[in-house]
C-alpha cells in the first residue's frame, strides 16, 4: 500500500513540475508540440528511474557507510552527467529507432534540475530501494503527464488572441498556474 501511495502521490499530488517546480526549463521549452513533449517525457522517465536506482545505491552503499555525506552534491551531479552519457551511448548501440526518438533530448536532461532533485529527494527522505524505484518511475510519469497536457494546451493557444507582452513564456506560466490549481484537487487522494 505504501508503494502505491508513493506512486500516486509522485504522479498527481506532488507532481514534480507543478508542485516542486523542478524541470521547468524543458516544461516550457519542449512543450510546443505534443510529439516532442511525449519524447521528452519518456526520456525523462527513463533517466529518472535509473537515477533513482543509482543514486540510492551510491548514497546507501558508499556515501553513508563512509561518512561522506558532504560529498553528496558533487557525486550526484557527476554520476547523473556520466549516467546520461552512458544511457545515450547504450541506446544508440542497442536501439537506433529509440535513439532517433529520444536522441536530442537526452543531453538536455543532464542539466535538468528534476533529475538532480529526484536524487536529492530520495536521499533526503531516506527511501528504501523499492520506494526509490517507484518514486523515480512515478515522478517521471508525472512529468510526462504535465508536459503532454501543457503541449496540448499550447497547440490550442496558437489560435488564441493573447495580449502581446504575455505571448510565449508569460501565457505558458499562467496556464501552468491553472494546471497547478487543478492538480491541487488530487490532494485529498493521499492522506
Amino acid at each position: 500500500m505504501e508503494l502505491v501511495a508513493i506512486f500516486i502521490s509522485a504522479i498527481l499530488v506532488n507532481n514534480f513540475v507543478l508542485y516542486y517546480f523542478l524541470g521547468i526549463c524543458p516544461f516550457l521549452g519542449v512543450s510546443k508540440k505534443i510529439d516532442s513533449a511525449i519524447s521528452m517525457g519518456l526520456a525523462v522517465t527513463f533517466v529518472m528511474t535509473i537515477t533513482a536506482v543509482v543514486s540510492w545505491a551510491i548514497n546507501n552503499w558508499i556515501l553513508i557507510p563512509h561518512g561522506l555525506d558532504y560529498l553528496k552534491i558533487v557525486s550526484f551531479i557527476l554520476v547523473i552527467a556520466s549516467l546520461v552519457q552512458l544511457v545515450e551511448m547504450f541506446i544508440r548501440k542497442v536501439s537506433p529507432p529509440l535513439y532517433q526518438a529520444l536522441g536530442i533530448y537526452l543531453p538536455l536532461i543532464t542539466t535538468n534540475c528534476a533529475i538532480m532533485g529526484l536524487a536529492l529527494l530520495v536521499a533526503l527522505r531516506e527511501y528504501g530501494f523499492a520506494e526509490a524505484v517507484v518514486f523515480g518511475l512515478g515522478s517521471g510519469l508525472g512529468f510526462t503527464l504535465a508536459i503532454i497536457l501543457m503541449a496540448a494546451i499550447r497547440e490550442q493557444l496558437d489560435l488564441a488572441d493573447i495580449p502581446e507582452p504575455l505571448k510565449g513564456a508569460g501565457i505558458s506560466l499562467i496556464v501552468a498556474s491553472i494546471m497547478a490549481l487543478a492538480f491541487m484537487g488530487f490532494i485529498g487522494m493521499i492522506k
Binding site: 517546480f21 560529498l71 552534491i73 542539466t111 534540475c113 538532480m116 532533485g117 504575455l166 499562467i174 497547478a180
Partner: protein
C-alpha cells in the same frame, strides 16, 4: 573581447540581460522559494555567493581547462561552492535551510551559473567576470525580492513575518501555493516585456 564599459557590464544583469525576466534562466528556484521574502532573499544570496566565486575561479583557471571537459570542470567547481553554501546555511540558519530543503543543493543545476561560466567567465578577465557575476547576481536577487514581496504581501498579508495589511485584508492563500507562483511570475514577465517595448519605442 567585450567592448562594454565596466559600468555597462554590471548594469546589463539588472535589466537588459536580467537572468530571470529576460533570459528565462533559473526559473525553478525563482518559483519554488518565493512564498516568503526571507526564503527568497536567502536563496538569492546563496546563489549569488556560488555565482560570484565560481566566476572568479573559472576565469582564473580558464587556460588550464581543456575545452572537451570544460563543462564537467565547471560543474565540479560550482558543486564545491554549493556544498559550502549548503553547509553554511545548515550550520548558521538551520530554520531557513530546512525551509529551502533540496533547493539549496539544487543551485548546482541552476542554469544561470553554468550559463555565465560558459558564456562569460571562460572568455574574460577576472575583473570583468567578477563585475558580470555581481551584476547578474543583483539582477537575480532583485527579481526574487520583487516576486517574493508580491507573494508574501498578497498571500499572507505580512512582510518578512511582520503584519503589514490591516484586519480588513483577507489573505489570498493561493499566492503562497504553487499555483500563485506560476501566476505571479507569468504576469511579472508580461509586465517586464511591456515596459521593455514601451522604452524601446520611445527611443
Amino acid at each position: 573581447m567585450s567592448t562594454r564599459s565596466i559600468g555597462q557590464e554590471f548594469t546589463k544583469g539588472l535589466w537588459n540581460e536580467n537572468p530571470v525576466l529576460r533570459q528565462l534562466l533559473g526559473l525553478c528556484p525563482t518559483l519554488a522559494v518565493t512564498g516568503w521574502v526571507i526564503n527568497g532573499l536567502a536563496m538569492g544570496l546563496a546563489t549569488s555567493f556560488v555565482l560570484i566565486f565560481s566566476s572568479i575561479v573559472v576565469s582564473i583557471i580558464k587556460k588550464l581547462i581543456p575545452s572537451q571537459v570544460r563543462i564537467a570542470s565547471y560543474i565540479v567547481i560550482i558543486a564545491t561552492f554549493v556544498t559550502v553554501a549548503d553547509r553554511f546555511l545548515a550550520a548558521y540558519f538551520p530554520d531557513i535551510s530546512k525551509d529551502l530543503g533540496p533547493y539549496v543543493p539544487l543551485i548546482v543545476v541552476n542554469c544561470i551559473i553554468l550559463g555565465r561560466q560558459e558564456a562569460f567567465s571562460s572568455k574574460n578577465s577576472v575583473g570583468r567576470s567578477l563585475i558580470d557575476a555581481l551584476g547578474m547576481s543583483s539582477g537575480f536577487v532583485l527579481t526574487l525580492l520583487v516576486l517574493s514581496s508580491i507573494r508574501e504581501i498578497l498571500g499572507s498579508g505580512t512582510y518578512l513575518g511582520h503584519q503589514v495589511m490591516g484586519s480588513w485584508f483577507t489573505p489570498w492563500i493561493i499566492m503562497i501555493l504553487p499555483a500563485g507562483a506560476f501566476l505571479a511570475l507569468g504576469i511579472l514577465l508580461g509586465i517586464a516585456l511591456h515596459i521593455e517595448k514601451k522604452t524601446k519605442s520611445r527611443i
